[in-house]
């Protein structure tokens, strides 16, 4: 009985974490969107949401890659990852952001 109570308490703790009120928090492994040009902010939001599902945003942002062709093939590969949730429209937005922000003009 004590064991069941402890397990129930632990479940309740985890559930409360999931159910607490949502807040919009900027990720510290990403970029402060307010520092980006207005035109990039919507694309950045898609990038930050989709790419952080599986890995830190530091991976692409610190990659040092500035070749648009490379980004095109890499984002296409990421889109094909199981459960990526990256649709064709998301892919276009992510690619626009990465080529604009990480491209040669940076």
């Amino acid at each position: 009985m004590r064991r069941a109570s402890r397990l129930a308490f632990a479940f309740a703790l985890v559930a409360s974490l999931a159910c607490s009120a949502p807040t919009a928090v900027r990720r510290a492994d990403g970029i402060d969107a307010s520092t980006l040009p207005e035109a990039q902010r919507a694309d950045y939001a898609v990038f930050a949401q989709r790419c952080s599902k599986c890995h830190s945003l530091a991976r692409p942002l610190d990659s040092g890659i500035d070749d648009p062709g490379w980004w095109a093939s890499y984002v296409a590969r990421m889109r094909a990852m199981p459960g990526s949730g990256i649709s064709a429209a998301d892919e276009a937005a992510i690619l626009r952001f990465l080529t604009a922000h990480q491209g040669p003009r940076r």
Binding site: R3, R6, L7, F9, A10, F11, L13, V14, A15, L17, A18, S20, P22, T23, A24, V25, R26, R27, A28, D29, G30, A45, V46, Q49, S52, K53, C54, H55, S56, L57, A58, R59, L61, D62, S63, I65, D67, G69, W70, S73, Y74, R77, R79, A80, M81, P82, G83, S84, G85, S87, A88, A89
Partner: protein, 390 residues
Amino acid sequence: MTSRRALSLFVVLVVVACVAAIAPSRAHAVERTFSASAQVDYFFVPTEKGANARAIGLDGFTTEASFKLAADLTDHLSASAKLCYGCHGFEADMVYAEYRVRDELAFRVGRFSPSFGAFNLRHDVANHGLSDKPLPYDMGRMLRLRSWNMGVLPSPFPDNGLEVNGTHWFGESAQLDYAAYAVSGFRASTPALDLDFVQSRTPAVYYVDNNSRPTFGGRTALTFKLSDDSDFTIGASSMYGTFDASNSLTYAIFGADLSLRIGQTNVRFEYLARRQDFDTSDPTRFKYALASQHGDFFVKHGAYVEVDRLIAPRVTLLGRVDGLFRVGNVEAGSDLSRRTGVGRATLGSLITIDRSFRIKASAEVYDFSDGDAAGRHVEVGLHVATVWTF
């Protein structure tokens, strides 16, 4: 870990790098990516009084590191190699080539972790927020690991073979993933009572199958985009094969998973079960008398629920409840009983110090249904770890 083996793995990585470097360019230049991650974790077990906690787990410092090189050789062909360093030295976590005909059809051949479960994609220390893995996937971090012989399917589980996989989008809102594979499979020496996971990663018995029959498996998952910042995935996996040299003992592993992402909150659930035959030719090896019917196998169940939530720009809070439940006979002298379980509750945080440098801290409480020699059921573990990605 022998220096000869480390040298062999190093040579493999260098050869892959050289092939990638000199492969002829066709439609475009060969594109290479290098990535790495490292975690140094300190594990303290304050409840283990009067003895080194190593008797029940791997306490103290452990380091896990990985180095991955991927090269796109053509528009369709890529090669990947990943070298890992962990508790048991250097390992080739993946060395494979992938030929992607289109999104719906890709082949990968070589050494890789076959598609099973949802955690598989996040097994790298950089991609999960707690220092250790959920109990169903535990590979040596859990307390009393030797009694339990680790989790249901210790992760990662690289193996040699072939996989066919693909993904298909239905419009902009649903993604179907599927995979089927044939790999060498797990192994054990004869007469076997359980899988011997060490044999999958030791050169002492060579990196070849111990029998002529592959293990077959597959996975399918469906992801729904609920909105711009939320999605939901449901998946199922299975694996079946023989693990002894004479192909007379089988194992079957089944998994189901659900994950929900809303904004910066992730909720994940997975259930795994392994039905495992064992050799009954010598009844004296068992703790209990062998049942006349259905007495030649055990079933090990495992499940976890995990929630992680970004609560401040630099702080992610994580909670996890996980457990194992084993039903079936055990080896004579085992601490476990015929029906035994362990539950664990973990609360942790992931703190971003720098974009590529994070600290993990967590506390976990274990509750074993079987007491130890002193009759104790509850243990506490504390983890503090640093993680780098680059």
